[in-house]
């Protein structure tokens, strides 16, 4: 449709890699907020102007750009934030995995039968790359709060795919999905605060009480 949208999508992919590679949780949260804001602007670029699209944009900007980062930063403040935890496969491993996933996403997307309207667009590969990056972040990070950031990347990837389909998704359902996301992050934030109280750390690899007895 237009190059501005494609450039924004490239920016989204770069943010994925930044989030995967950063040591600082605060930076990761700011990056995911930026990604949310970019996603909020995208529908305006890919679609002709309609009130439906404008409302979605406002909702997304409020939810992903303001509300969720605020909740996450709040949760971070309540936990000891100084200590940084090495990801299971290290930071460079994280970035490598992210890069490989991005390449795979592009290769795979090229093979999918797309509607003629959407051929040659970055939407599908960017969406798949972001989803995979989200999975890597969830699996490879050890701090609960970083896993939430990974989950948000996953959600963002799904949202990008949804750009192809704004007509099929009624506004009510879309708004409901965002509300559920905010509520979900709110609950996760509460759990993170409790985790840091119980375990005096939010390192989830310390949570080993529940397992099958050998």
């Amino acid at each position: 449709m237009n190059t501005a949208a494609d450039q924004l999508l490239v920016f989204v992919i770069l943010l994925n890699i930044l989030i995967l590679g950063t040591r600082r949780t605060k930076l990761a949260i700011r990056a995911i907020a930026t990604q949310g804001i970019v996603l909020g602007l995208l529908p305006l670029m890919t679609h002709s102007f309609q009130s439906h699209i404008l409302i979605i944009t406002i909702f997304v900007l409020l939810a992903k750009g303001v509300c969720i980062p605020w909740l996450l930063l709040g949760a971070l403040k309540k936990t000891e934030s100084g200590e940084e935890l090495q990801p299971v496969f290290g930071y460079s491993g994280n970035i490598m995995a992210g890069a490989v996933a991005t390449v795979l996403a592009f290769v795979f997307a090229a093979r999918l039968p797309l509607a003629t309207l959407h051929q040659g667009l970055l939407i599908v590969p960017a969406s798949l790359a972001t989803i995979l990056a989200g999975f890597i972040a969830i699996a490879n990070r050890r701090k609960a709060i970083n896993q939430v950031v990974g989950y948000l990347m996953l959600e963002n990837g799904i949202f990008i795919f949804g750009l192809l389909l704004t007509e099929a998704m009624p506004l009510m359902v879309e708004a409901g999905a965002l509300l559920d996301l905010i509520a979900g992050i709110f609950v996760m934030g509460l759990i993170i605060k409790q985790i840091s109280r119980e375990f005096s750390s939010i390192d989830t690899s310390r949570m080993t009480a529940l397992r099958e007895v050998e």
């Binding site: 609960a144 192809l164 999905a177």
Partner: protein
Amino acid sequence: MLILLLTLIPLLGALTAALIPSNSRRPIVLPIVACLQLLLVIAVTVTGPPQTGNGWIHLDAIGKLFLLEFSILFAACAFYAVNYLQYRKERNNRVLCSGFLVCLSAMTLATAAHHLGLLWLAIETTTLAMAPLVYFNRNARSIEATWKYMLICSIGIALALLGILFLAYSTLVAGLPPSLNLETLQGYAPKLPQVWLSGAFILMLVGYGTKMGLAPMHTWKPDAYGEAPGLVGAMLAGGLANCGLLGLIRIYQICMASSEVHFYKSCLIGMGLFSIALAAIFLVRQTDIKRMLAYSSVEHMGLFAVALGLGGKALYGVMLHLIGNGLAKGVLFLASGNIHRAFASKNREFARGTLKRAPWTGALFLAGFMAMTGSPPFLTFASEFAFFSAAFSQGHIITGALLALLLMLAFLGMSLTVVPVVFGDPPKNRERTKYHERALLVVPPLALLICLGILGIWLPQPLYRLVNEATALLEVAR
């Protein structure tokens, strides 16, 4: 309109519960709302004419059966909660009461949703509403369980959303006006491109399968079921897991209307058998009764998947098992809550000899176990019989034989725990808890059990008609 009323009543109840300041009076809201809801649901399901329509929200026969099961189970849990929460006076139960009611409201909406996006929204809301309830005990173990539940279920449900988007996109690729309405999609199904449809199916199988607890996405289940209070466990196993099943059934309805169904059926059978096998193995060495029930839930969710994969006569069994499994899980979890209170432990090492310590609970636990494993005269016998007869008469001999073997193993595994818990000698050197059996701790599970027994022998005419209509909805698509 009635369905809106059914969704609003629990929401209003939740609000009322949140506003009542007294911790001891608040639980009363639960049975009041539950009774109101149950009466309305019975009126809708039994007398209501078979509804047709193409709207977003209307109750079809499948939805009615799910709604009936949810309401009966919820009513039992609600009455149970009144006496149970008297034993847990030290805990504030505001979140528990409100969360329970919000969950009921969302489940009701799910049963009536014919727009896949709306269905997804309702199912996601049940996940969220239940999270604080898993954390009711407020200790390190329960926070660990809650975190796993929340993270894994959220990821799963996100994948299901991606599957829904794939499905919507497949309509675009096929050049049809995009839609997420169940009936419209069924009509489209033969024309949809195979790649996108199977992609959507796999994502939704994994996504809703996470919510159901199909292996290998079941890992949150033993932890959450093990650490949650008994009545929350009952709702998780008989309510939320079934919500996942409802999501799976909806996508199944669409896929079965497409031209190539073999792929979907083999996926379901494979995943189901794997879940049953894994559950059976873990059941053998399980010493914790609530974790045991969680694996039993994995087993039965696997059974649903296999039965959907078999199709034909097994679908009738699915509809019966939906009620049978839900209610039997209710009996077992409520009884296990009592056992936990009575012995201050849920491990078979300490919780032994329930028949001597709390005879009613012991008998209920034993009978619930028989119902769960499909012994006559309970309803589950009829449904499991339907599964086997379908497997053997439709040429799935190996599947049928494996099923028989694994269910036998699961039965033996469970009995290794159930027998000492029910018949053993209570441990002597442990301090006796203050627990004694109260009416509302025993009558609700007993009522569920009686329901199961009666339905196993005799299905009332309206219910029989409903089950047949629902089966037809699953079959007719071809």
